[in-house]
């Protein structure tokens, strides 16, 4: 990903900050002009809860080029405590902890390096919630 594009949306990648439609409540990962669900134009910035539960997970075996050296890695569908569903990489899971329905929490982790001379990109991942 080009550096300016990465930088523009770092609020969501770093802290799960996005925009919720004032009219219908739909969550938008990146600053919208028009609500994707109801078409209205009013939004408030929200920081999503950092905990939730794992609805389903899978393991990526044949990864896209940028993730080739990371495979195999885990992708999960997470339902946060406010009901928002997001896709995320999972990290720090032992085989025993890896169950659909597991409680999880967001952490900031390295996502990938943009080649040898590019920047190192960080973003959220989810790990098992302990206690």
């Amino acid at each position: 990903m080009r550096v300016p594009r990465y930088w523009r949306n770092k609020l969501f990648r770093y802290r799960l900050v996005g925009w919720r439609c004032i009219n219908c409540g739909a969550f938008h990962h990146f600053k919208p002009l028009v609500c994707k669900r109801c078409g209205s134009r009013g939004f408030r910035e929200v920081e999503l809860p950092k905990t939730g539960k794992l609805l389903a997970y899978t393991v990526v075996k044949i990864a896209p080029a940028d993730f080739k050296d990371k495979a195999p890695y885990l992708i999960g569908l997470v339902e946060l405590d406010d009901g928002t569903r997001i896709l995320a990489q999972l990290t720090d899971f032992s085989q025993d902890e890896l169950k659909d329905g597991a409680r999880v929490e967001a952490v900031l982790r390295k996502i990938r390096e943009d080649g040898e001379s590019g920047i190192i990109e960080y973003g959220y991942k989810f790990r098992p919630l302990v206690g």
Partner: protein, 383 residues
């Protein structure tokens, strides 16, 4: 709106064509379609291609194909809608015929995936998702499908055999098909014992990497009586949905497909029960199941049972992927939607050889971009 007819079709075998480039494959298919129609000139050319800018570093395929066909001067554009790019090209060409602006157009869908490494093909496929979101975290096409697969099994309380039956069916129908990439049968046991590509989705439940091109000639009413080639009448409709299935009201339903199917049936004045054969976008087994259910050809959660009961066999109630579908005929992304329509046309004009369905009158092809964010549905009627 004027009527639209398919008047010629052509295709190449799908496979790893090391000795031929993307442009050559497209020209081969286009020349066959022109020859089939008896026409040598058209008013416009529409090219369907998804990943040429990435895998071949080649944009501007419209003018290139016009030149390579010896048709410099003819308007020519590339149309892109991820994996539905071929169908999108048909849609664009069909609109020009329906408007009366053109009497004849050529549609060419082509893709050459073997120019890329496995991870580059995965990257190309990921470009059909949102790079800012799924792309950034590496949630590739198959991982999204795998999550849907799990939700499906949990929601409907079915096991993986009810989903893996679809690739088995596609392979059964591809057996001996000259243009198919994998023209052989694969048993359900073998599919279910193949390694995971993204658990619970297995290697034999997803389409392979192949190159190919397919082409059709569309004409309007004016040329209909002048062209001797076998013809069918074409209807086409399209709709979109939220990019990520998990943001849809029901992730296990392709709303775009349901809408496009209803629109095309309505325009063609055809009842769902009158559809004699169907081409389904089985890029993955789970997409085949969800497609049949979203478009009203099976009740939610029931498609696998119907498949096991033989309803989608060549001699069944609704013959499915009669030349092997994406799974076994092959899935060169931007060409696939055109292959589907070529195959329907061969069936409806009685030229399907050993795969011929018994005197079909109406055929439907469903093409999806991404995981159903774009749906383009074509309906052909025998004349």
């Amino acid at each position: 709106m004027g009527k639209i007819y398919v008047a010629g079709v052509g295709l190449t075998k799908i496979g790893e064509h090391w000795d031929r480039g993307l442009e050559q494959l497209m020209v081969e298919a286009a020349l066959k379609a022109l020859e089939d129609s008896g026409l040598t000139r058209v008013n416009s050319i529409y090219v369907g291609n998804m990943a040429g800018e990435f895998l071949q570093e080649q944009a501007h395929l419209g003018a290139i194909i016009a030149e390579d066909l010896g048709m410099v001067g003819t308007p020519a554009y590339r149309v892109e809608a991820a994996n539905a790019s071929g169908a999108a090209a048909i849609h664009a060409g069909a609109l020009e015929i329906a408007s009366g602006k053109a009497d004849a157009v050529l549609i060419v869908g082509g893709e050459k995936l073997s120019d890329g490494l496995a991870e580059e093909v995965s990257s190309a496929l990921l470009m059909g998702e949102r790079q800012e979101y799924e792309g950034f975290i590496g949630a590739d096409f198959y991982s999204i499908n795998a999550l849907l697969y799990k939700l499906y099994m949990k929601h409907y309380g079915v096991k993986d055999d009810m989903i893996a039956v679809f690739p088995m069916l596609s392979h059964k129908h591809a057996k001996g098909v000259a243009h198919a990439q994998y023209p052989f049968e694969v048993s359900l046991e073998k599919i279910l014992s193949s390694p995971y590509i993204s658990e619970p989705l297995r290697r034999f439940e997803v389409s392979g990497v192949g190159d190919g091109a397919a082409a059709i000639v569309l004409i309007g009413e004016k040329l209909k009586s002048k062209i001797k080639a076998p013809k069918t009448e074409l209807y086409i409709s399209s709709a979109t949905d939220f990019m990520t299935p998990f943001e849809r009201e029901d992730p296990l339903r392709f709303q775009s497909l349901g809408v496009a199917v209803n629109k095309v049936l309505d325009e063609a004045k055809v009842d769902r029960g009158d559809v004699d054969l169907i081409e389904v976008h089985d890029a993955t087994s789970i997409m085949a199941a969800i497609s049949l259910e979203s478009s009203g050809f099976a009740e939610p959660g029931e498609s696998g049972k119907l498949a096991i009961n033989g309803e989608f066999d060549l001699g069944g109630r609704l013959p499915y992927n009669t030349f092997g579908g994406l799974k076994a005929r092959g899935n060169p992304f931007g060409a696939t939607g055109v292959y589907q329509v070529v195959e329907l046309h061969l069936q409806l004009t009685g030229r399907a050889g050993k795969n011929q369905v018994d005197s079909p009158k109406v055929g439907m092809a469903q093409s999806l971009g991404g995981v159903g964010a774009t749906a383009i549905v074509t309906l052909l009627k025998a004349l």
